[in-house]
């Protein structure tokens, strides 16, 4: 039997788009972010599709894909369920986590709610810890302006080491700039130097020990620092997920994997 590769359309793992011989260049762009920050709205604005949106956290539970063209290049956009953190445990959040961590899109756009930046940066910093090509999208700028919230995007960009773009997805504002920036990062025209959190010396020491072992097992395919952190966080489910990964089985698709209850309790 053929190896399942493109089962979900775009789960193929092409780190370098030019790998695809003969075909036009294609980049994969994932939209990640906290719940309810306007990812699906942005997805719709970019692709012209009609993902459902709603003003409550958790509207999107499955990932969706669409495309747009920009300067003769096709971009596949992946709308992910919202997640508060890459260490979370609900089924919808795992879909997002697994995509960002294991599939490693060409560009990860972290969509932030400009009105609650502090909480949103929690996730953004986690993504920056493990991905190189990141664009930060400050969405809901219309609301932020109305609420008298002023954000210095240049300063933010220089602090985070990745480009920052302001958008109001619902009004279609800032999309061109976002596409330009995504293109720049995807092609490597824009160099990113993602901000990496430094933990306490003791933590960094622990990370280093574990990280080396992870590299011997997985090579450079997976973000070793992230896995180290996650193991140190004491997550038992990760070892299983990684074994599955080795066994080439599909990464968790969010279903309740086994019947969680005995027949009679």
């Amino acid at each position: 039997m053929m190896r399942h590769c493109c089962e979900n359309g775009a789960s193929c793992h092409h780190k370098n788009p030019s790998d695809q011989k003969g075909k036009t260049t294609r980049f994969r762009v994932a939209l990640a972010g906290n719940p309810n920050t306007g990812k699906s709205t942005l997805f719709n604005a970019l692709t012209g599709l009609r993902q459902h949106t709603g003003n409550w956290p958790g509207k999107t539970v499955l990932r969706a894909e669409g495309t747009y063209s920009f300067k003769d290049v096709t971009y596949t956009v992946i709308d992910l369920p919202g997640t508060y953190s890459l260490y979370s445990n609900s089924a919808d959040e795992e879909v997002a986590r697994d995509y960002i961590v294991f599939e490693q899109p060409d560009v990860t756009v972290v969509v932030l709610d400009a009105t609650s930046l502090e909480r949103n940066l929690n996730l953004a910093l986690q993504v920056l810890e493990m991905s190189e090509r990141v664009v930060v999208c400050l969405n809901l700028m219309d609301e932020a302006n109305r609420k008298g919230i002023r954000i210095d995007d240049r300063k933010l960009s220089s602090k985070l080491g990745v480009p920052v773009v302001k958008t109001a997805a619902r009004d279609g504002k800032g999309l061109t700039e976002l596409k330009e920036t995504v293109e720049g990062v995807a092609r490597g025209h824009i160099q990113t130097r993602p901000f990496r959190i430094r933990y306490s010396d003791e933590m960094e020491e622990k990370i280093k020990t574990i990280e080396a072992d992870i590299r011997t097992i997985f090579g450079n395919d997976l973000p070793s620092r992230w896995i180290a952190l996650r193991l140190l966080d004491g997550d038992p489910s990760l070892t299983e997920a990684l074994k599955k990964r080795i066994g080439k089985e599909e990464s968790t698709d969010g279903a309740i994997a086994q019947p969680p209850y005995p027949a009679e309790a």
Partner: protein, 82 residues
Amino acid sequence: MTTVIPLSEAVPGQTLRIRRLELNGTMRRRLLDLGFVPGAEVYVLQKSPLGDPVAFRVSHTTIALRKEESSKIFGELPGGEG
């Protein structure tokens, strides 16, 4: 003088500064991710119609917690202020 009380004992209108969380596992992680980290300020917004859960403002967002969780988050009331 400061007093340390669980969030569940604070009343709407009060602000607390979080001292510690006496929870473990995924719930601890989730609360930390939502901004209930030591040092953060939490403002008690209001109770739901049946008394529980209660909505809190933390890190510019509104999060509702049940008593089970809020009673395990301890914070200090800034001295004197009610």
